[in-house]
């Protein structure tokens, strides 16, 4: 887009880049805010339907589709209370820390093969890392509120999120291993084609590990049955007990943002990303560069695909929330450390062995192999300018016998 601005409109480079950055930020910000509105409304409707109710019906005419907006306006107008004895600075800053973490992670998320805020070479890692920062805001909020319930909530959240990052990380590494890259776009591209190319269907281990990932994702964004940090029957409202108004709504947006984020991540890592179950675009001969309009259409379809999958993930989370009771904190930790982590580790090893043994065969001695990898890499580098998605699979990719360089 920046090239387009520079070449066609003739803007100077810095302005073009600033514009692009601004537009991207605007889009993502609105995606989160708008997404939160939609999801909150959806959650209300879904919860209501699950519980034999109707949910909001009036606001906005039909289906109460403006209900979340109305609530938002109400929250804006509400007084921002701060308890006496609270640590003012931290109390104020906490919701923004949470929200920013959730927001920042969106930067690296691809929505179609080139619709991505910032294509990072270490995209997966970045997203998981930044997502982990969200807990910091929660801890600050819990501490700064000067409320025991908040403190309890914060402690629970800290313990839970730090623990669940372990199996989550392990699950995330599996697609990275299969794609041979930490770049989310590359990972998505590796799954192009029919739905059988999706990593979830790559082998039995990845199928299992997807569900482990989903469980851990639900836990790491604090949704039922792992919503210990805000368990209303125990801790009143957990870390945001003392929050109201806009600040509270920031926590809320961060929560829904993270929910959406982990769902998008699940879709990209396991469910083929923007690739539909059937490669319609390539079947129609729409692959890049053949028709002028095709890329845009492909991108749109890709976005829709990804959004659909991610939304499905979010809806399942809602479904779970309104169906299951909440676990106890020790049971949550047990689930993480005694079940998720070992299973993830086993599955990880399984995928690794699958990769090692099925396509190639026993790998011969490593010394000369290492030299070969090195040669290949240097050769590739000499070919031309370095390619961002260049990557080396440490494990032989399907159909290749030896470690090779994939580009």
């Amino acid at each position: 887009m920046a090239e387009f601005l520079i070449e066609t409109i003739g803007l100077p480079g810095w302005l073009a880049w600033t514009t692009v950055a601004g537009v991207s930020a605007f889009l993502i910000l609105n995606l989160i805010a708008g997404g939160a509105l939609v999801f909150i409304w959806a959650e209300r409707k879904i919860a209501a339907r699950i519980q034999d109710r109707l949910g909001p019906t009036r606001t906005g005419g039909r289906f109460g589709w403006l209900q979340s907006l109305a609530d938002g306006i109400k929250l804006l107008a509400k007084e921002d209370l701060m308890p006496d004895g609270a640590d003012g600075l931290l109390f104020r800053i906490a919701p923004y820390v949470s929200f920013c973490a959730s927001f920042c992670a969106f930067i690296a998320l691809p929505f179609a093969f080139d619709v991505v805020g910032l294509r990072l070479n270490v995209g997966v890692f970045f997203v998981v890392a930044v997502l982990g920062l969200e807990v910091f805001g929660v801890i600050l909020a819990g501490y700064a509120s000067a409320s025991k319930w908040s403190l309890f909530g914060a402690m629970r959240e800290a313990a839970q999120v730090v623990s669940y990052e372990v199996p989550l990380g392990m699950c995330v590494v599996v697609p990275v291993m299969l794609a041979g890259s930490m770049d989310l776009v590359t990972i998505g591209e590796k799954q192009a084609g029919w739905f059988t190319n999706w990593f979830i269907f790559h082998d039995p281990f990845t199928f299992v590990i997807f569900w482990v990932y989903y469980t851990c994702a639900v836990a790491s964004v604090n949704r039922a049955p792992f919503d210990l940090a805000e368990a209303e029957s125990e801790l009143v409202a957990g870390f945001h007990t003392e929050y109201s108004g806009l600040r509270w709504s920031f926590f809320f947006m961060a929560e829904y943002g993270s929910m959406f984020l982990v769902s998008v991540l699940a879709a990209v890592l396991f469910l083929g990303g923007w690739n539909g179950p059937v490669p319609v675009a390539s079947l129609l001969g729409w692959s890049d560069g053949t028709a002028v309009t095709a890329p845009y259409a492909v991108r749109l379809v890709g976005c829709a695909n990804l959004m659909g999958k991610a939304t499905l993930g979010v809806l399942v989370m809602m479904w779970i929330r309104w169906t299951l009771p909440r676990l106890r904190i020790d049971q949550v930790m047990t689930t993480c450390l005694k079940y998720c982590t070992p299973i993830a580790a086993l599955m990880f090893a399984g995928v690794m062995l699958w990769q090692l043994f099925l396509p190639g065969g026993l790998l011969p001695g490593s010394r000369s192999q290492a030299a070969a990898v090195r040669e290949a890499w240097l050769e590739g580098e000499a070919d031309g300018a370095p390619v961002p998605e260049a990557s080396v699979g440490f494990v032989p990719a399907a159909g290749r016998q030896v470690v090779g360089v994939s580009r």
Partner: protein, 402 residues
């Protein structure tokens, strides 16, 4: 030195030490069933001590009873266990009738069984739904209330009120049933029966629910008896007492000819336990799960009793009989009667000096005794277990504070 340490019996190991905290759970807390205040002393997530503070709903009901005639006090009994007001009415009415040595008509007797058992179902539905809420699942609560609303509809039709009925009264009931009520009641029972299976799916057999309740808050039969626990709490610990079978004759006479089996585990089995989900392996007799399960069984039991009473009631010809006068003179003397209410054994005591207004009125509340055991059950558990334990006791503050 290390040898010394090893030998010292007074040395224990424990996790990272955190500061102890005093935490108020309630009186404005989402899961304390009304205005109960629980003061928790916690060490991290572990509750080392718990103390219930009560009295936020005290209305001097007993004192008021000493200034009203026996029938005039009926509405005040409604507000004790407001979730099972019919049973409260019945208890007080029977106590007064015991003093008067009065016997109601056969038709009134069957109608009283019908109405009080129906209210037992309603009460247990609230207990069950709210328990789910305590454990963090919202939907069963609404499913329970949906069915309870249908019972309240029936009550409204019979007596005009949805919560505070004052329907059963000294000497009978205030009015006979309207025409067609019995059919609607039967229709309700028919559609309600399969729904119980849903509840079992959502809660009783749900793995997380079992994890949260099985083996938690284990109440030994001895302790239950020592603390005077009654009702499902007592039966959940395996003590086979039900006043409908074991009570005073004036009360058991009401259930004469009714076939029912007390919902209590005997020899490792519940009555008719093939029809219900199996007891999970983790569950220990006397834990939260068993208390909950006993309530679920009692819902079924009450449905049976209602079906029987509908039969008998419709066979009774003749009038229902008028209740006693509003200012009926009471004979001098005293009477105490306990009845089996949904929450436990509710006792009413009155002393009369011969006037229409009793000289003394006292109530023995089952929830009060049941709550008293909560500190024992909560000692050493996690914070999350406190709502689970207190919820499983199914208390009503209106009855405790009176």
């Amino acid at each position: 030195m290390s040898q010394l340490l090893d030998d010292d019996q007074r040395i224990i190991e424990f996790d990272v030490r955190t500061d102890e905290m005093l935490v108020n759970m309630g009186p404005q807390h989402p899961s304390t069933h009304g205005v109960l205040r629980l003061v928790l002393r916690t060490d991290g997530e572990i509750v080392s001590e718990m103390e219930p503070h009560i009295g936020y709903l005290h209305r001097c009901a007993e004192k008021i009873g000493e200034n009203l005639t026996a029938r005039q006090w009926i509405p005040y009994t409604d507000r004790m266990d407001y979730l099972a007001a019919m049973n409260m009415n019945l208890g007080w009415s029977l106590a007064v009738e015991k003093l008067l040595r009065y016997e109601v008509s056969e038709k009134a007797r069957h109608l009283r069984v019908l109405i009080s058992e129906l209210n037992r179902i309603a009460s247990h539905l609230v207990g069950m739904g709210a328990y789910g809420l305590d454990l963090g699942t919202f939907s069963p609560f609404l499913y329970a209330f949906r069915e309870r609303e249908k019972i309240l509809d029936l009550f409204e039709e019979a007596c005009g009120a949805r919560l505070t009925y004052s329907y059963i009264t000294v000497g009978g009931l205030t009015a006979d049933l309207p025409p067609g009520w019995l059919e609607r009641c039967e229709a309700f029972l028919d559609q309600f029966e399969p729904i119980i299976r849903e509840y079992h799916t959502l809660l009783t057999t749900n793995a997380i629910f079992v994890k949260r309740t099985a083996g938690i808050g284990v109440l030994s039969p001895e302790m239950a008896i020592d603390y005077g626990c009654t009702g499902p709490v007592l039966r959940g610990s395996g003590v086979d007492i039900d006043l409908r079978r074991d009570g005073e004759s004036i009360y058991t006479a009401m259930y004469d000819g009714y076939a029912f089996e007390v919902a209590v585990m005997k020899d490792g089995h519940y009555p008719r336990d093939r029809e219900y989900p199996a007891v999970p392996t983790d569950a220990v007799l006397g834990d939260c799960w068993h208390r909950f399960f006993v309530r679920m069984l009692e819902v079924m039991q009450s449905m049976d009793l209602i079906r029987q009473s509908i039969d008998r009631y419709s066979q009774c010809k003749g009038p229902l009989g008028e209740p006693l006068k509003l200012a009926e003179k009471l004979p001098a003397g005293d009477a105490y009667l306990e009845t089996e209410c949904p929450k436990g054994q509710m006792g009413f005591y009155l002393v009369s000096e011969g006037a229409a207004i009793p000289w003394r009125v006292r109530a023995r509340s089952s929830s009060f005794s049941n709550l008293a055991v909560a500190p024992e059950l909560c000692r050493g558990c996690l914070i999350a277990d406190v709502p689970a334990v207190v919820g499983s006791l199914d208390i009503v503050m209106g009855e405790i504070d009176r």
